[in-house]
Symmetry: C2
C-alpha cells in the first residue's frame, strides 16, 4: 500500500447506537465515500454520549490517523455533548460563536422561526475550528485540525461532506474486480493464497454468501495496478473453473448487485 494514501478513522457517537435501538448508517456510507477518494478507513468506533469516552477516543484516533470523522451529538438537546467533548480533547474553549450564531439567525429568520435557547446550543463551536456548511438544517459542523465533526442524521451528515471534500487529500483509487461463483470457501483457500503470494500488489478477500439456495462465494481482488488486478481476477476465475464452477466477473459498476 503506497505511502500517499491517507488513513482515516470514523467515530460514531450516540447511546442509541449501542442499545440495539438504532442501526448506525454513517460508518458504511462514509467508508465507501472515502474509499472512492482513495482514502483508506482503518478503524471505526461506536461510543456512547459520554464526555470522557469521547475525549479518549478522539485523542487516540487523531494521533493515529490522518483524518477522523465523527458523527452525532451536535444537535440542540441535553444529550448532545460532542462539541464540548471535542473541544476538551483539544484543550480549547467551546462557546456560542458569532459566525455560527449568525448562520443560525439567518436560517431561522428566513423561515420565520425563532432562534431559541435550545437552538443556540448548536452555535457552540470550539475555538479555532473551521465551520462545515449544513445545507439541510442550517446548524454547522466543524473541523478542528484533522478532526471533522459531522451531524448524526444520515441525510445531514452526507450533505456536509460536500463542504469537507475539498479539504481532503485524495489518493489513487483501487481497481476492484469481484469474481463470484458456486464453490465452498474452503475449496478455494489454498489457490487464493498462492495467487496473492504470486502477484505482489494484489489483495484478495474471500466472502461466503448465498444466492437463492446455492452456496456462493465472492472473491474480491484489489490492486492500484489495473493490469495486475485483471491478471489476478483471471487467475481466480481459472481456480473456480478447475472446481467445475462457472464464475462471473463483476466490475465496480456491477457491485451494487452483490
Amino acid at each position: 500500500m503506497p505511502q500517499n494514501r491517507r488513513k482515516a478513522a470514523i467515530l460514531a457517537i450516540g447511546d442509541e447506537l449501542l442499545s440495539g435501538r438504532t442501526r448506525d448508517l454513517n460508518i458504511h456510507f462514509l467508508a465507501g465515500w472515502l474509499s472512492d477518494r482513495g482514502i483508506i478507513t482503518q478503524e471505526a468506533r461506536i461510543i456512547p454520549d459520554k464526555q470522557d469516552h469521547i475525549i479518549r477516543a478522539v485523542n487516540e484516533l487523531r494521533e493515529t490517523y490522518d483524518y477522523v470523522f465523527t458523527s452525532g451529538g451536535i444537535g440542540p438537546t441535553h444529550d448532545d455533548i460532542t462539541a464540548e467533548a471535542v473541544a476538551a480533547a483539544f484543550g480549547v474553549d467551546c462557546d456560542v460563536r458569532e459566525d455560527a450564531r449568525l448562520i443560525l439567525q439567518n436560517w431561522y429568520d428566513a423561515r420565520g422561526e425563532e432562534l431559541t435557547e435550545g437552538r443556540l446550543r448548536m452555535a457552540r463551536i470550539p475555538d479555532g475550528a473551521d465551520l462545515i456548511a449544513n445545507p439541510i438544517s442550517g446548524a454547522p459542523g466543524f473541523q478542528l485540525e484533522n478532526v471533522f465533526v459531522l451531524a448524526g442524521v444520515p441525510t445531514i451528515m452526507q450533505a456536509m461532506l460536500k463542504d469537507v471534500d475539498g479539504r481532503l487529500d485524495h489518493g489513487p483509487v483501487d481497481h476492484v474486480i469481484t469474481v463470484r461463483g458456486q464453490a465452498l470457501e474452503s475449496q478455494l483457500a489454498e489457490g487464493l493464497k498462492s495467487i496473492e503470494q504470486a502477484l505482489y500488489g494484489v489483495s484478495i478477500g474471500s466472502y461466503p454468501g448465498k444466492s437463492g439456495k446455492a452456496l456462493m462465494v465472492s472473491i474480491v481482488v484489489k490492486s492500484l495496478d489495473k493490469t495486475l488486478c485483471h491478471q489476478a481476477a483471471e487467475a481466480v476465475a481459472a481456480l473456480f473453473r478447475s472446481l467445475g464452477a462457472t464464475p462471473e466477473m463483476l466490475t465496480p459498476s456491477d457491485q451494487d448487485n452483490i
Copy 2:
C-alpha cells in the same frame, strides 16, 4: 447505573466492513441481544484483518470491559487470522486442536465431504480456550477468558449465541418507553433537561426523524424502575402537549415500528 450490570464491547473484524463493500450487521444485533440480557454495550469497533490491529484492540477492550465479543475472521481462507491474533493477544499458542478437529471430522463425515487442509484451518483453537458450538456450519467459535470469538456470517454468529448465553451474567433490564410526537427537538430541549434532572435514575434520549412529510421526534425514556419510567414518560408527553402536539407512547413491543 447499578454496579451489577456487566459492560461489554463488540469487535467486528474484516477489511470488507471498512471499504464500504459490506455493511456490518453483527454490532446492531449483538447490542440488542445483550441489552435484552441487562448487559450494557459500551463500545463497538470495526477493524481490518490485520494481526497487530486485532491484538491491540482485543487487549485494550478485554482489560476495560467485562465481556468482549468478536465477529469475523475464523473461516478457512488465508485472510481469516482472528484465531491466531487472539491467541497472540493472550500470549498463548494456537494450533489445530483435537477436540475441534473431531467436531469438523464428524460434521463433514456426516455429509460425505472431505476435511480438506483449508477446512482444517478452522480447527485452530488457542490453548486453554473453551469451544463455542456452531449448529449451522460445524466450525466452532471459542471463548478465552472474557473474550468470545464468533463467526462473521450473521446467521452463524447469531446461532453461536445460544451456546454463549449461559456463560454470561445477566443483569436487570431497563424499562423503556418511547414518546413520539410532531415537534422540533429544539422546542423540547429545555423541558427534557428539567425532567431528567428531576427524576434521578431516568435517562432520556432525543432522536429526530421523519414520518412521511412531518418532522417527528422520538424521546426514549429508560429506567430500571418501572414506576419512574412511566412517570418520566408522562412528563415528556405533557411537554409535547404543551407545544400543541399529540404524542404517542410506544412500549418495547411497539419499538420495531419506529
